[in-house]
């Protein structure tokens, strides 16, 4: 589980630390840095997995404008069983021209070093804290991209999987393609490849189907079932609804935006709940009717409590804001220093009035 995030010198995040629990809710006005936190995690994931170049993920303009420093720092703390892993990355931006470089990158397990990359040279350590190997050429890539096989380096190999356990989701219902694409088996943040991901997951874990079918029967009136229908080499998602006592097939295109979002959210939660996944949901309440929100909040918090799933939710919806006590909730605000600050004890803000009302008045920033 991702336990904490530290960010320094990125957009409005200066010496910023966020502690996380299983079910988390990030609140705050526009421009207070909530999405910047998700953006850092998304970019770190792409950096560690070698999906993009450092200079594109952390361009010079991502530095804090009012901070006179060329070094950006990021730290993630993961907890698993009794082990605590610390990942740290420092990026050095050039003063004039050129591209950003890795200043240092390190991984600690408890107090023991597993990886240290500095001055273009990476050192890899076994679980017993002995040097296993060294490598060069790491100035603009993550040393974590390099795996090595050693019976005594299980913890390092295990840590490398952590960044594969982040799922970033900001659902764009109109972008969701209704037909599978064999090139995409992973989620994209806009969920455009969701149908392909769902087909892959459905094949891996068929018992989730019945659970989902039951959920959808409660969410969608007259819902009967869903399934994939082969068309050529690809598959189309079909949803069946009862009409005049007959089961009538519908394509995903025919659902409303709200129905699409609900279908995606319930599918994501059901398939990810048994995995040690951190699901970042950026404003999932868009498009959803009021009566669907409380059931959704209950499912998210129940799954987080009962399973290995961790959820980080960003929302501006009053119904979710007023459920802040159900989550580990933090409120982002920008004070006079412009840096993002966090309010953790939200109960003090909303003694008589609901928190959404306090936020509607802008009084949380006082």
């Amino acid at each position: 589980m991702l336990k904490s995030i530290y960010i320094n010198n990125y957009n409005c995040l200066v010496d910023f630390k966020l502690e996380l629990d299983k079910a988390n809710l990030l609140l705050g006005s526009n421009g207070t840095g909530k999405s910047s936190v998700l953006s850092v995690l998304n970019n770190l994931t792409d950096f560690v997995n070698g999906r993009n170049k450092l200079e594109y993920l952390f361009p010079t303009h991502s530095k804090t404008r009012w901070l006179n420093s060329n070094t950006q720092s990021f730290e993630l703390c993961f907890e698993e069983n009794s082990d605590t892993y610390h990942y740290r990355l420092e990026i050095e931006h050039p003063v004039f021209g050129g591209s950003a470089k890795v200043k240092t990158e390190s991984v600690f397990l408890n107090q023991n070093l597993l990886l240290r990359s500095k001055d273009n040279k990476a050192e890899y350590y076994t679980d017993n804290n002995t040097l296993a190997m060294t490598a060069g050429g790491m100035s603009d890539m993550s040393a974590l991209q390099l795996g090595y096989s050693d019976v005594n380096a299980i913890k390092y190999a295990h840590f490398r999987t952590f960044f594969s356990n982040f799922e970033f989701v900001k659902i764009v219902p109109s972008a969701i393609e209704p037909i599978t694409n064999p090139s995409f088996r992973f989620l994209t943040p806009d969920c455009s490849k969701f149908i392909s991901w769902l087909r892959t997951k459905s094949l891996e874990k068929q018992d989730v189907y019945l659970e989902l079918k039951q959920s959808f029967a409660q969410v969608f009136p007259d819902f009967v079932s869903f399934g994939f229908e082969q068309t050529g080499t690809e598959y189309v998602l079909r949803l069946y609804f009862s009409q005049n006592q007959e089961s009538t097939p519908y394509t995903f295109y025919e659902l409303s935006d709200g129905q699409k979002v609900l279908f995606v959210l319930y599918s994501l939660l059901a398939h990810l709940k048994d995995h040690a996944v951190t699901l970042f949901l950026d404003e999932p309440d868009n498009y959803i009717t009021l009566r669907e929100l409380q059931p959704l909040i209950s499912i998210i918090t129940d799954y987080c409590e009962e399973s290995r799933l961790q959820v980080v939710l960003i929302s501006h919806h009053p119904e979710i804001i007023n459920s802040h006590s159900t989550f580990n909730s933090v409120l982002f605000k920008r004070g006079s220093t412009q840096n993002t600050q966090l309010i953790i004890d939200l109960a003090t803000l909303s003694e008589n009035l609901p928190l959404s009302e306090i936020m509607a008045r802008g009084w949380e920033n006082e």
Binding site: E351, N352, L353, A360, R361, G362, W363, N365, E366
Partner: protein
């Protein structure tokens, strides 16, 4: 003044009060971002609504008065022949007791706010008349609040025949509305 947050909370009992108070605040230079109107959207007793909202908002005002710059306005009608505007202000002051410095205003029109509008634009109006609704009064609200602002901010002398409930409202404004 920070233009990006709410300074004034207004509790009012019908759409006439709402229209009047919005125009009044805009005339003073406030924007939609600076006030929040809590109006009765369903049926039921207007004064009961005002009191139930005050029971939430007044303690919140007290709790935040040293932290947040704010003003609370309760805007309601009296009950002609039963309760005067003055008694209604006293009643609210008794249940929601304000200190001298609190920016909490109790504004009460004797019969209905439309009577104020008619009076302020120079038409014949009496707070003792039984007739409650005055067709077309809302369209004249802007003109009415403009005059009321001038009177309340001493740009125009208080008329000799000033309606007693308006006089009371002006007094509340002068004594308690934040500068």
């Amino acid at each position: 003044m920070n233009s990006d947050r709410v300074y004034i909370i207004v509790i009012c009992e019908d759409v006439g009060h709402k229209s009047f108070v919005i125009n009044f605040l805009k005339n003073l230079g406030f924007t939609e971002r600076n006030y929040r109107i809590l109006d009765k959207k369903t049926g039921g007793d207007g004064y009961q609504f005002i009191c139930s909202q005050l029971s939430v908002e007044f303690p919140e005002y007290i709790r935040n008065r040293n932290r947040v710059k704010q003003c609370l306005i309760a805007f309601t009608d009296a009950e002609p022949k039963k309760i005067s505007a003055e008694d209604r202000v006293k009643d609210m002051s008794k249940h929601f007791e304000r200190s001298r410095d609190d920016k909490v205003l109790y504004i009460v029109s004797k019969r209905c706010v439309e009577t104020w509008v008619h009076y302020l634009i120079g038409e014949e109006a009496s707070e003792d008349e039984e007739k409650r609704h005055h067709t077309g009064a809302h369209t004249k609200t802007k003109e009415a609040v403009d005059r009321l602002n001038r009177i309340c901010t001493n740009q125009e002398p208080t008329p000799g025949n000033f309606l007693p409930s308006l006089q009371l409202a002006c007094k509340e404004f002068k004594e308690r509305f934040p500068e």
